[in-house]
Chain length 424, copies 2
């Protein structure tokens, strides 16, 4: 994409109440726009990142045989009354139609997915079932001051699993946990992310969260220094030694929850009468699990982990583009070379943001480039063209290398339409 | 995909109040589920179709240089007060937070996109701007009895354009109109779809709708028998002869609106103060257009146009799969052959739904196949295997052909990962 055509610009001013690093950087760089507290628009650059995160999550969900659906946000009151959460759940937005019909805005989808699957799960032979969606959620949060980390409206991947017995749930639960770590691995936050015991709920003693260490975190976790299992502060009181390895050596860290997985048991299948006859003809409620990841929150966490004082440093799998190609000076020679490189790289499947703006100084362009945070920067200027070279630099490194233009395409090896970029 | 793994099934019973053909067929075939009047879930088969429609629309939007963003559904009351539509728009859902803050649920996004673009459109040099989103909309409809044709919650592509002058708007307006016809062409409803004059609003005398002829339609249009321009009944009184060619020969038809395009002029830019200095330094409000297509509605229209008494007949570009491969009898030989064909076709990039269910009769499978409506049916049975053949049939044709298995792959020529299917 040519930067001159991008309708957004980097901004100097910020909404005054915006205190989180992720929102500050994402707004200044033109990835998101704040509509009100906890509610953001994704602008073209942010939308590219969102789609990359979405595709990573979708691939990993398909790898664990989950089928994708899309459920509505507008829910009938009756469904939420069945589980009694209409009155209990304080974050539930409620509204009425002109005809005085009452609705909730979905903050989660157990109340919809259970009666839905009940139409299709008629026998033990229909189990297990794994279904997920990537969909807009609403929560009436009192605090919404953490940018993308805590939204009143936010995009979430929610997966629901349905099983005949606990053993089958346990097996799938482990598979989802592994899939989540692959997602965090691909987003390059796995090293800082810990499987964390949290308060459980109805079925199992504990649930599991995935917590990423960050000074922006609103949670506190205690990480076992022997086996890396973490424990959320809310249950640390009751746990003296690591339930996994017995160690008593914990390290306290601030962290952000990037995902959670719950064994729901029969909490939602029972009130909706989602039962099957087992092999012996005995009617029993279906056993469920649910598993969430917030896409916007994940984007926010990535920015909290990957930035410096100049701007964002996108991990390559979720970067809006692979290469930021910058034309310094607008001479014919520079423009012609940059334009050719832009086309050649795109032909190789490399995604390029080409800063062809003629009304910006070299300084302004380089500052914008660091703020936007695309992994590879290539600078075309008169100075280096004299030696038939361009400058190439990784965002996170200081070192600038000169490389002959004719060798440049070899730096980009393409596989499966994804650019693999050699070390530079 | 193996049909035995699909969590949905075809259904015999229907929600009793479901009177529209599109919803009846889509529910029975397992594409959608009705949560309440005007609110549906997309199940795996329906989700595949939705994604194909989404990709067609996205491609055509990119072809006309539109940039994709994603705006929220939750809107602050203040924005809707600026345009006075908070009080006027009767389909607007309104709600309050716990802290008594008032919101609207977006039924359209002028109130959000104008203040958003105002942050980036600072000079005439920043124009034109074209931005679109594919996003969930909400409308408090009194009537919602037409299945996917009229929803209380529905996915819409909304495009907004921003221009310095009317000429530039007119040029782009024409481009969008052409893009819309390409979309309808790819969805195979273009032959029945007419550009239609409708009541205009503020800026131009008329707006334009795209109306598809259908007995399920809630609109009535008059089609000029000379030049094919249509006129919506609501303005037919004031138009005696075709404004395009002067003919007075019209044919009356029932129709469904599948898209609309509006010249908004300065109706929304003015109240939000979205102005630029023109080349002479004179401050002037930005001129806008807006352009909508409902994705679910488009799916519903396709079903209304493309079905018979047995079920849906999907146009190939939006079909959930290219081929429905059916194994009749569950002998080792049939299963082995079907399994191999399933893999071979997938390797060629052909999307296959493989009916490997062993608890269904041949009759049940063929009835389901016609209901689901995938373009090509391939049947593997003992009878034809004796002659090293399988049966192949197009959904919309009666004729069944026998084809030698080894010639089958040649029927599928692949280009750009999309299957091109020879005439059979």
């Amino acid at each position: 994409m040519k930067q001159s055509q991008l309708f957004t610009k980097t901004l100097k001013s910020l909404p005054k109440e915006e205190i989180s690093i992720n929102a500050q950087l994402l707004i200044r760089a033109g990835f998101i726009d704040k509509l009100m507290a906890g509610v953001y628009s994704f602008l073209p650059l942010g939308f590219f990142v969102l789609k990359k995160i979405e595709n990573i999550i979708r691939e990993e969900m398909k790898n664990i045989s989950a089928q994708e659906i899309l459920m509505p946000a507008l829910h009938p009151k009756e469904n939420w009354q069945v589980t009694k959460r209409w009155d209990i759940l304080d974050v539930l937005f409620k509204l009425k139609s002109r005809e005085e019909k009452e609705y909730a805005l979905g903050s989660t989808h157990e109340e919809i997915v259970v009666p839905l699957t009940k139409k299709f799960i008629l026998s033990w032979k229909d189990l297990p079932v794994f279904i997920f969606q990537i969909q807009d959620k609403f929560r009436d949060e009192l605090r919404a001051k953490s940018g993308l980390l805590r939204g009143r409206e936010f995009i979430m991947k929610d997966l629901y699993s349905f099983h005949l017995d606990e053993k089958d749930l346990d097996d799938y639960y482990k598979k989802v946990s592994d899939a989540y770590f692959r997602i965090f691995e691909r987003c390059q936050i796995a090293e800082k992310t810990y499987l964390t015991l949290a308060s459980g709920g109805t079925f199992s003693k504990y649930s599991h969260e995935f917590q990423t260490i960050s000074s922006a975190g609103e949670d506190i976790i205690f990480i076992c220094q022997n086996c890396d299992l973490a424990i959320n502060k809310e249950i640390k009181e009751e746990i003296k030694e690591c339930p996994n390895c017995g160690s008593k050596n914990f390290k306290e860290e601030k962290s952000i929850e990037v995902g959670n997985i719950f064994k729901l048991g029969t909490k939602y299948s029972q009130p909706f009468g989602l039962t099957v006859k087992d092999k012996n003809g005995k009617e029993k409620p279906v056993i469920m699990g649910c598993y969430g990841i917030g896409l916007g929150r994940l984007m926010g966490v990535i920015v909290e982990v990957w930035h410096d004082e100049k701007g964002i440093i996108w991990p390559s799998a979720v970067a809006p583009f692979d290469v930021h190609l910058i034309q310094i000076e607008n001479t014919q020679k520079v423009k012609k070379t940059a334009e050719k490189l832009y086309k050649d790289l795109q032909k190789k499947g490399v995604e390029v943001l080409y800063d062809d703006r003629e009304d910006k100084t070299a300084g302004e362009k380089l500052v914008d480039c660091d703020l936007i945070g695309i992994p590879i920067r290539i600078v075309v200027s008169e100075k280096t063209l004299k030696r038939n070279c361009v400058e190439i630099k990784r965002r996170e490194k200081e070192k600038i290398k000169l490389i002959r233009i004719r060798y440049l395409p070899q730096f980009f090896k393409i596989k499966n339409q994804k650019s693999k970029i050699k070390n530079i």
